[in-house]
């Protein structure tokens, strides 16, 4: 029984990491109506930048801040150069362009940092164990859960209780209307994209000590993230929170409880089932 609860905790924690990725992407896809496959590449760039800044400054927190800011700026540059013409295009064009971005960013990263995997060290005060019911649970993972919850709360306040949040929600419901009402949509989009990029970078940096920092690390997490936002409902942060936990738990429990071989496909089956029952996801944000 204890093992089951431990696995449940593992699942929730994995889900929380997925939420960080999904939150940024669901905003971009839902509000800007832009399928951004390069979200995983931004996750990778954030992690690599954190490694470099950590080696340069010697301080973990400083490295995190710098890397997130830097990635947000890179996001702005990408938005301005590549993505602006895509807002009026159909989804296929967006998929292709952002796929081209993935190729470019992956190779650029390999060019700059090399093919060998890297390591992001966490400071000693984060590297501890917590004794939960007799087992040693890595404290860092609890920190990741706390950070994700903090981000969730922050997004909740941002979207629900600020002016910008109001614009975001209005944009998700009816984009043409708020353009008609005179909102500077270009600025709003840039901000949202930068926010998405920053969240992706944060996810990459938080994940780096647990996972590997290597070229292409964003590709697999991208698929998981897309599954989460589709299950949760595109454009809904609340939906991606719920979906992330569900995906994390089912994936974790499925891997240990089902016969091997199902571990790879359980998430896809889950997505197919949920789409069959609720074709717009669990919490669709559009009317």
């Amino acid at each position: 029984m204890l093992l089951f609860f431990e696995q449940l905790l593992n699942g929730v924690q994995f889900g929380m990491m997925l939420f960080l990725m999904a939150a940024g992407l669901t905003l971009v896809v839902g509000i800007m109506n832009l399928i951004n496959l390069a979200h995983g590449a931004l996750y990778m760039v954030g992690a690599f930048l954190a490694v470099t800044f950590s080696l340069l400054t010697g301080s973990y927190l400083l490295a995190v801040g710098l890397a997130v800011a830097c990635t947000a700026l890179i996001g702005l540059a990408i938005e301005f150069l590549v993505l602006r013409p895509l807002y009026s295009r159909d989804h296929l064009d967006q998929v292709l362009c952002t796929f081209g971005l993935i190729l470019f960013l992956n190779e650029l990263t390999r060019f700059i940092w090399g093919a060998t995997p890297l390591r992001l060290d966490i400071p000693a005060w984060l590297d501890y164990s917590v004794s939960l019911a007799g087992i040693d649970y890595p404290g860092y993972r609890l920190i990741v859960i706390l950070a994700s919850v903090a981000v969730a709360i922050g997004l909740y306040f941002l979207i629900g209780h600020t002016r910008i949040g109001m614009l975001i929600r209005a944009g998700a419901s009816d984009r043409k209307m708020i353009i008609g009402l005179g909102v500077n949509i270009a600025l709003l989009y840039s901000l949202i994209f930068a926010l998405g990029a920053g969240l992706a970078a944060l996810a990459g940096i938080l994940a780096a000590p647990i996972f590997t920092v290597q070229v292409g690390m964003g590709d697999h997490i991208l698929i998981l993230t897309l599954v989460v936002i589709v299950i949760g409902g595109i454009g809904s942060v609340r939906g991606s929170f719920a979906a992330a936990i569900v995906v994390g738990v089912i994936d974790t429990l499925g891997r240990v409880m089902l016969p091997s071989g199902f571990g790879n496909v359980i998430i896809y089956l889950l997505m197919a089932v949920i789409l069959f029952w609720r074709p717009r996801g669990l919490f669709p944000s559009h009317a």
Partner: protein
């Protein structure tokens, strides 16, 4: 007029043919791009060091090495191999790291009588039923390091072992190889999903099963993730982690202190004391500025094997003589003792390595002892050569 042209053409062809006999063309098909591109880099650098040390002339023949990237995709590798065989007219293909790539290009190479010398991939099919005089493996048969560790743990009297490997053919073969030699109790056998990132669930299972030792085969990023997460769960000292193909000098910097106290088997380590190896490690570091891995060492050995065989046979054009010269393996391997078995797979030692933290804070693998002496693979009896 036409007669003169004809004569000129024949003379040119004859000269070209003669010139061709004085040079050797080698195709190096390896994985340079993608998450596992570091391995291809090591393989290429190791081979090119071997060629450079021979003055650019393996076996005294002017050598051309044509490098192709297989992107870890069998169809890309197949296209590259066909191009090398048909357009570039190579006599030897080498550089292949992964078994699925090896299986894709084995047939065209062998069908066209091109020598395929694999510096890493050692699929069981090519060691057994599909062995060929044109195929040589200079590293190992894929099951061997797992078998070596199984034998070591059996010898040490370890009672209960938990196994974990990825859920595909290589993973299942690996654990089968381990179980061939280890006869104790297997308290758990888990297959991880491919490209899995988070092993917290598997680690919880391992902890609950309370084995005496853990045996792991998880390559690339999976190995890095698992080792880090295993250490974060504070299990490294409680349940010692033994592995193969999981921790090596490429992944070790990415794992860091989390690997300290773990054990691996490998056919080579940078601190092996034989003369050839000391020279190799020193020259490699000097030329490329980083520490070689076993992949670089295996590839270097391949270049030196080719050098010795080409010298002995006087070239690769007489295929029978060249094959015979290759089989003799008259070269100083960086592994120590080296010879070929009847199926053209190596007979060599396997070492037990341990990761330790050095005085300067870096982590390194040191050789504890020789785990197996002159080990042979389990498939050679099936080879009818």
């Amino acid at each position: 007029m036409g007669y003169k042209k004809c004569l000129a053409a024949i003379t040119l062809a004859a000269l070209a043919g003669a010139a061709g006999a004085q040079e050797v063309k080698i195709g190096l098909v390896t994985t340079l791009t993608g998450p596992l591109g570091a391995l291809g880099k090591h393989v290429r650098d190791g081979f090119e060091l071997g060629v450079a040390e021979a003055g650019g002339k393996l076996g005294g023949l002017s050598t051309e090495v044509i490098v192709e990237d297989d992107q870890l995709r069998p169809d890309v590798a197949l296209q590259a191999a066909n191009k090398l065989i048909e357009r570039n007219k190579v006599q030897v293909i080498t550089g292949v790291i992964f078994s699925n790539v090896a299986m894709a290009i084995a047939k065209p190479a062998i069908d066209n009588e091109v020598f395929f010398i694999s510096p890493n991939a050692g699929p069981s099919q090519l060691a057994g039923k599909q062995c060929s005089p044109y195929f040589f493996a200079t590293a190992w048969q894929n099951d061997q390091p797992h078998q070596a560790m199984g034998e070591y743990l059996q010898e040490q009297g370890v009672k209960k072992v938990y196994l974990i490997a990825p859920n595909y053919t290589a993973g299942k073969d690996a654990l089968r190889g381990f179980k061939r030699a280890y006869k104790g109790a297997i308290v758990g056998e888990t297959y991880a999903a491919m490209n899995q990132l988070d092993f917290a669930a598997e680690i919880s299972k391992i902890r609950a099963a309370k084995p005496d030792a853990l045996y792991v085969f998880l390559s690339g990023g999976m190995g890095i993730n698992f080792t880090k997460q295993y250490a974060q769960a504070n299990l490294t000292n409680e349940i010692p982690m033994y592995s193969a193909f999981t921790i090596d000098s490429i992944t070790l910097p990415a794992i860091g202190d989390a690997a300290v106290g773990t054990y691996q088997t490998n056919l080579w380590n940078a601190d092996l004391p034989n003369k050839a190896n000391r020279h190799f490690v020193e020259s490699f570091q000097k030329k490329y500025g980083y520490l070689p891995s076993n992949f670089a060492a295996q590839s270097y050995d391949t270049a030196r094997l080719l050098d010795s065989a080409l010298r002995e046979a006087g070239g690769a054009s007489n295929k029978k003589a060249f094959a015979a010269a290759l089989k003799k393996a008259h070269f100083e391997s960086v592994r120590g003792s080296f010879s070929f078995n009847t199926n053209n797979f190596p007979i060599g030692n396997f070492y037990l390595l341990k990761v330790v933290k050095q005085a300067d804070g870096t982590v390194r693998q040191v050789t504890e002892k020789t785990a197996l002496v002159d080990a042979k693979d389990a498939y050679y009896a099936e080879c009818r050569m």
